[in-house]
């Protein structure tokens, strides 16, 4: 009870909980689930963009894309480390991922079908991710908050690169402009879904907000994202595929249509266009790499034994 009081006080002060601090089991498990999902999203998120590395149409774009996908691997790495401070190993989490027992962001269950998708993912998907994640930089758990600061900084950079790719393509040929529009048409609705279901259908939000794990509701964030994206779309010269999208002077916000929530739930449950493919890819890479990881473990053990024998003699 004393421990709980100290914990609650830290939260109330908007101060950070650190790994050595006591925390309620439910807080810990909620965090593990959220951070793991986030880490998995970075790792699975390497696939849709990675799909275009070998076909990038200029060397500059190839370097940008390769570096971006590499950053995602880096984000995965710190987020798994943040999870390790809560006593769960990367190996354990990876198994949960490849066995389909833990989720990742549903957006990555959509395929990338043209090079414009690389730009759209940067602009809309990273843009939405940033809206979701900036508040997490102030999240109550220290290691997670600090990881998020670094992640957000890099993602803003990725978002600008994505926008810049699209804007360059829009100054190119008619075919390129059509490619950008087609890509935005495909990704707009899934991007809106990234904020999760409407608040009425989001049962965990309240507890997460109370704990300072989450700081805004899904609908608040979605609105912010739409308001941010409209002028950017205008600047690009693309049309967002929503007839209901209009400025509402009274609210001081854009009104917009709801995405197809049936599709959202279907994708979350495993019926997205790429769920099976993404998991199969991750599982194959994990299994194909097993002999290498085993070799590294065996080698490290042998080295240690040699050292120990050396010091014993």
């Amino acid at each position: 009870a004393e421990l709980l009081a100290a914990f609650d006080a830290t939260i109330a002060r908007h101060d950070r909980i650190e790994p050595r601090d006591w925390m309620p089991e439910k807080y810990r498990s909620t965090l593990v689930r959220q951070i793991a999902q986030h880490a998995h999203s970075e790792i699975i998120g390497m696939q849709p963009e990675g799909n275009w590395i070998t076909r990038a149409p200029s060397l500059r774009r190839k370097a940008i894309l390769l570096a971006k996908v590499q950053d995602e691997a880096g984000h995965g790495l710190y987020l798994y480390s943040a999870c390790e401070t809560l006593g769960v190993s990367r190996q354990e989490l990876t198994l949960k991922l490849v066995e389909g027992r833990q989720k990742y962001s549903s957006i990555f269950n959509y395929p990338t079908l043209s090079y414009a998708d690389v730009g759209t993912i940067g602009w809309l998907v990273d843009g939405a991710a940033i809206c979701n994640q900036v508040p997490l930089c102030r999240t109550s758990y220290g290691p997670y908050g600090r990881a998020m600061i670094r992640v957000c900084k890099e993602e803003s950079f990725h978002q600008r690169q994505g926008f810049e790719l699209l804007s360059t393509m829009m100054r190119g040929t008619d075919e390129q402009r059509a490619m950008v529009q087609e890509s935005v048409d495909r990704f707009w609705w899934p991007a809106l879904m990234m904020f999760g279901p409407p608040d009425d259908d989001s049962p965990n939000t309240e507890q997460s907000m109370a704990w300072g794990i989450k700081r805004d509701t899904n609908d608040e964030l979605r609105q912010k994202f739409v308001d941010m994206s409209v002028p950017q779309a205008e600047a690009l010269g693309v049309t967002l595929p929503d007839d209901g999208l209009v400025w509402n002077a009274e609210r001081g916000h854009h009104d917009f249509s709801q995405p197809d929530w049936d599709e959202f739930y279907a994708v979350v449950k495993g019926s997205g266009p790429c769920n099976a493919q993404r998991i199969a890819h991750r599982r194959r890479a994990h299994e194909d790499g097993a002999w290498v990881r085993d070799a590294a473990t065996a080698f490290a053990r042998r080295q240690q034994e040699t050292v120990q024998r050396g010091s014993a003699s």
Binding site: I43, Q70, Y115, G172, G289, W291
Partner: protein, 263 residues
């Protein structure tokens, strides 16, 4: 200038093609740390390739493929995306797709050891641009070599399976080594004119360095025949393996579909 341009294409294409192959590990590596490390190596080589192709184009604009009027494609991209395989000047060592990490480690060890020896000497090139590219590259490729050597030892001494795969990889890569040191007339001219390095001058050094890694790992040199030339030419003459044409089909597909595109 023609020899300088061609010489830059040789070094640039080695980096470009191998960077492409290494980039295929992205999201496929045995562990996250290696995914990141291999992407890093691919990025370093891609950076070297861009500088070298740009230098080639500046030294002799006639090496750059001519694109339709109004094309905004810069020279480095015209060279990368609009040459056919016969126009590429890289050694064949960098072309094949690797079946597993064992082959990759063996290939990277051989390639990085060779390239590091070249770049170290190239730092004193009469061409100040090449010298600067080499100076930057030496630091990068030294890391690539260390990475490969560390994994070589680990796989050799890890498990039976890892040793078996490493040896199989080494046997696959080893025959393509001889070509690296087979001085091409352009390389001879580059060395003679003071801006390049004759690869025959580094053969012994590379050999000693490879031998060190092999012997500390307890690995014998594979007993395999070197891969010979194709008629009178090899990679540096634009005579490649079957793998390169397939690789370019993928690498160039978007760029070629949009010769007037901006990216």
């Amino acid at each position: 200038p023609a020899a300088l341009a061609t010489y830059c294409l040789m070094l640039g294409d080695d980096a470009l093609v191998y960077s492409h192959r290494l980039s295929q590990w992205t999201s496929n590596a045995p562990d996250l740390e290696d995914d990141i490390a291999l992407a890093n190596i691919a990025l370093d080589l891609l950076g070297q390739a861009r500088l070298l192709l740009a230098r080639a184009a500046a030294a002799d604009p006639s090496v750059v493929p001519v694109l339709p009027e109004g094309s905004p494609v810069p020279p480095e991209d015209a060279l990368a995306f609009f040459r056919d395989d016969a126009g590429f000047r890289n050694v064949r060592l960098v072309e094949p797709e690797d079946a597993d990490f064992g082959v990759t480690v063996a290939r990277l060890l051989v390639f990085a050891t060779y390239r590091l020896a070249l770049l170290e000497r190239l730092r004193s090139s009469d061409d100040t641009v090449l010298a600067a590219i080499a100076a930057k590259g030496v630091k990068e490729v030294a890391y690539h070599r260390d990475y490969a050597a560390r994994w070589f030892l680990t796989l050799a001494q890890g498990t039976e399976e890892s040793r078996r795969r490493l040896l199989a990889g080494l046997a696959l890569v080893w025959p393509l080594r001889a070509e690296l040191f087979d001085t091409h007339p352009v390389e001879a001219a580059a060395a003679g004119q003071g801006f390049g390095v004759d690869p025959a001058m580094v053969v012994d050094e590379v050999d000693v360095l490879l031998e060190q890694v092999l012997s500390v790992s307890g690995v014998e040199r594979p007993d395999v025949r070197p891969t010979g030339p194709l008629g009178r030419g090899a990679g540096r003459d634009g005579r490649h393996t079957e793998a390169l044409g397939r690789m370019l089909a993928e690498m160039q597909v978007v760029a070629r579909a949009h010769p007037l595109g901006r990216w």
